[in-house]
């Protein structure tokens, strides 16, 4: 492990430590907000596995999120707490199964066509819950009693949910970090860089891509499960393309190709939204919060070509570039 790897690991560990201590500092509003952002961060991590690690841009990620959420609500008994030990895995598997089916078909296409086919399958799932009575139609459905694990964990309490979500986030991050360092992860990186060459070296790339797609769907399902438990409510908007778009924007903003980019992006996107929506700062103009968010995004594209993750590197290059030109100038003066 060289010092850059170590500083990255230290950064991520510091982030998780701050998140673990945060409830001591903020009130219930902060806990609620950060729980929501952590759910988005898990969701963003799931997409990062596809976009950043494998090079597959999926525009239908919200479907897996939504299926995880709907599974959590539909499978919960009406008047007693569902067992967390079975409901969580079942929700994840439901989302992963849909991802397996979608991936098996849509991986036949490439590039923008792949983007659009994944959108098409997400829209199909959206219209199934939107137009049929299966999931309460456009009104959505409520989850009256939140799942629990005996008397040990009851997700009804907002602090319990906070730490459970944090644990899921750490677990998802660690799982992906290990996965991407494994042989499997290296194969995905190879597919991203040059799929032809991977095939030429004897890898059958399709099963690798399908496995990545299925895993990604499962992790998105986990995020969806947590979202449903947090809000106690699901509606078709959880599967809409707006959410697929928003999560894609999060990881691009954070910086594609780095797991911590997904974390940073989710936090940056959600906190920017909160900032521009805040009436305390912008007063009556707060209802036009899209304007500030949009301008910030445009500025970040113009100034941060590698996303927020690339910012320290950009600074370092600047400093080194400056000191180098300064020494060159010094040498020139010495020679003269």
């Amino acid at each position: 492990m060289n010092h850059i790897d170590r500083s990255k690991a230290a950064f991520v560990a510091a982030c998780f430590a701050v998140l673990a201590l945060l409830p001591l500092l903020t009130g219930s509003y902060g806990v609620d907000l950060v729980t929501k952002i952590m759910v988005y961060a898990i969701f963003a991590l799931s997409l990062e596995l596809l976009v950043g690690a494998t090079g597959l841009v999926c525009f239908g990620q919200a479907a897996f999120f939504g299926i995880g959420a709907y599974a959590a609500v539909l499978l919960s008994p009406a008047s007693e707490a569902a067992g967390l030990w079975w409901l969580l895995p079942v929700s994840i598997v439901a989302a992963a199964m849909y991802a397996l089916a979608v991936g098996a078909l849509s991986l036949r296409t490439k590039g923008v066509y792949f983007i659009m086919v994944t959108l098409a399958f997400a829209q199909m799932a959206y219209y199934v819950v939107h137009d049929t009575p299966l999931g309460g139609g456009t009104d959505g459905i409520y989850l009256y009693v939140k799942p629990a694990l005996g008397s040990l964990i009851d997700l009804d309490g907002s602090l319990t949910l906070y730490f459970f979500t944090l644990a899921c986030l750490v677990a998802a991050f660690a799982f992906l970090a290990v996965l991407l360092r494994s042989r499997f992860g290296r194969a995905l990186a190879g597919i991203r860089v040059n799929e032809q060459r991977m095939r030429a070296t004897g890898f059958s790339t399709y099963p690798y891509k399908l496995a990545a797609f299925t895993l990604s769907g499962g992790i998105a399902g986990l995020a969806g499960f947590l979202f449903a438990v947090k809000d106690g409510f699901v509606n078709p908007e959880l599967m809409s393309w707006h959410l697929s778009g928003a999560v894609l924007i999060m990881i691009i903003l954070g910086g594609i190709g780095h797991l911590r980019g997904a974390l940073i992006g989710a936090f940056a996107f959600a906190l920017l939204q909160e900032f521009f929506k805040s009436e305390a700062i912008f007063g009556a103009f707060a209802k036009h919060w899209h304007l500030g968010l949009g301008l910030t995004i445009i500025a970040s594209v113009a100034l941060l070509p590698r996303g927020l993750v690339g910012l320290p590197g950009q600074w370092r290059e600047r400093l080194i570039g400056r000191s180098r030109s300064a020494t060159v100038g010094q040498e020139a003066m010495n020679e003269a």
Partner: protein
């Protein structure tokens, strides 16, 4: 469904399909030639529709003109807008990854929507068709068909033919086609590719704005209308094959027919039909119906 209803639905699907084609053709041109995924394209359609609503009184007082003067002024403004936008926001993006462009154009959507909200508000508006075109044509004994919808189809057809002519019969069209195949080669032959891109972008914006203005009296004017048309236009573009104008026309007419008849025949599943169609076509032909180049 009797014959007159069938005929009306045919005309409706044709009108919707042609309108989709107009918006989608700009999208496919910009993507096929410049390689930019322009999410803000739907916003140009929205801007056009709001122009038809907000510009009409201004044009009436300054030029004393009516609907057609508004169309003309709007188109000129749109060309200028496209030219300036390409210059400020896109000219430095070509070397970057596609995803950076996606992020940028997403930011533009938010900005355009909010500027629209600041300038005209969030209300839904209706736009009156011009008086000459306000009448209806009788169809059968009971049914009538509004003249304005026929006018929309006519305008779209005329523009489609115009685009075909420019593309295949003029020097500019030749340069555009060459630019979409090999950027460096065209540049080394001494053609100013930056200027060419700016022209293509401005043309794409102008067509989308014009489509929005023409559509305003039919569809009414509402916030978020750009986003819904954007997704459908992407569907049209990929079904047709990216960069292919011919494919976009065929795909737009197909989508128009499936959507219109879907709403009449199976109203509970109308929304999903378009996407099922897209998935089936792309699984059958992974590069769309007509792959350009």
């Amino acid at each position: 469904m009797d014959f007159a209803t069938f005929l009306i639905q045919c005309l409706n699907s044709l009108q919707y399909g042609l309108l989709l084609f107009l918006v989608a053709s700009g999208l496919t041109l910009i993507f096929g030639i410049m390689g930019v995924i322009n999410l803000a394209h739907g916003s140009f359609y929205m801007i056009g529709a709001y122009m038809a609503f907000a510009l009409a009184p201004v044009v009436a007082t300054t030029f004393g003109g009516g609907f057609f003067a508004t169309l003309l002024v709007g188109t000129v403004l749109a060309v200028a807008l496209g030219y300036v936008l390409e210059w400020i926001f896109f000219s430095f993006l070509y070397e970057r990854e596609h995803l950076q462009q996606v992020l940028m154009t997403y930011g533009l959507i938010l900005v355009f929507e909010e500027l629209r909200s600041l300038a005209v508000g969030d209300d839904v508006h209706g736009v009156q068709p011009p008086e000459i075109l306000a009448g209806t044509l009788p169809l059968g004994e009971m049914m009538t068909y509004p003249v304005y919808r026929l006018f929309v189809s006519g305008v779209c057809l005329a523009l489609a033919i115009g685009m075909w002519f420019v593309f295949t019969r003029t020097r500019l069209g030749m340069m555009i086609r060459a630019g979409s195949t090999n950027r460096e080669m065209v540049q080394s032959l001494g053609i100013d590719i930056k200027f060419l891109y700016r022209v293509v972008f401005a043309a794409g914006v102008a067509i989308a704005v014009l489509a929005g203005m023409v559509a305003a009296p039919v569809s009414s004017v509402y916030p978020g209308m750009g986003n819904s048309v954007l997704i459908i236009c992407f569907v049209v573009v990929v079904i047709g094959g990216i960069g292919s104008i011919r494919g976009a026309l065929l795909a737009a007419l197909l989508i128009g027919a499936v959507d219109t008849f879907g709403k009449v025949l199976v109203p509970q599943a109308a929304g999903v039909l378009v996407y099922v169609l897209m998935a089936l076509i792309l699984l059958w032909k992974p590069d769309g119906l007509f792959k350009a180049g």
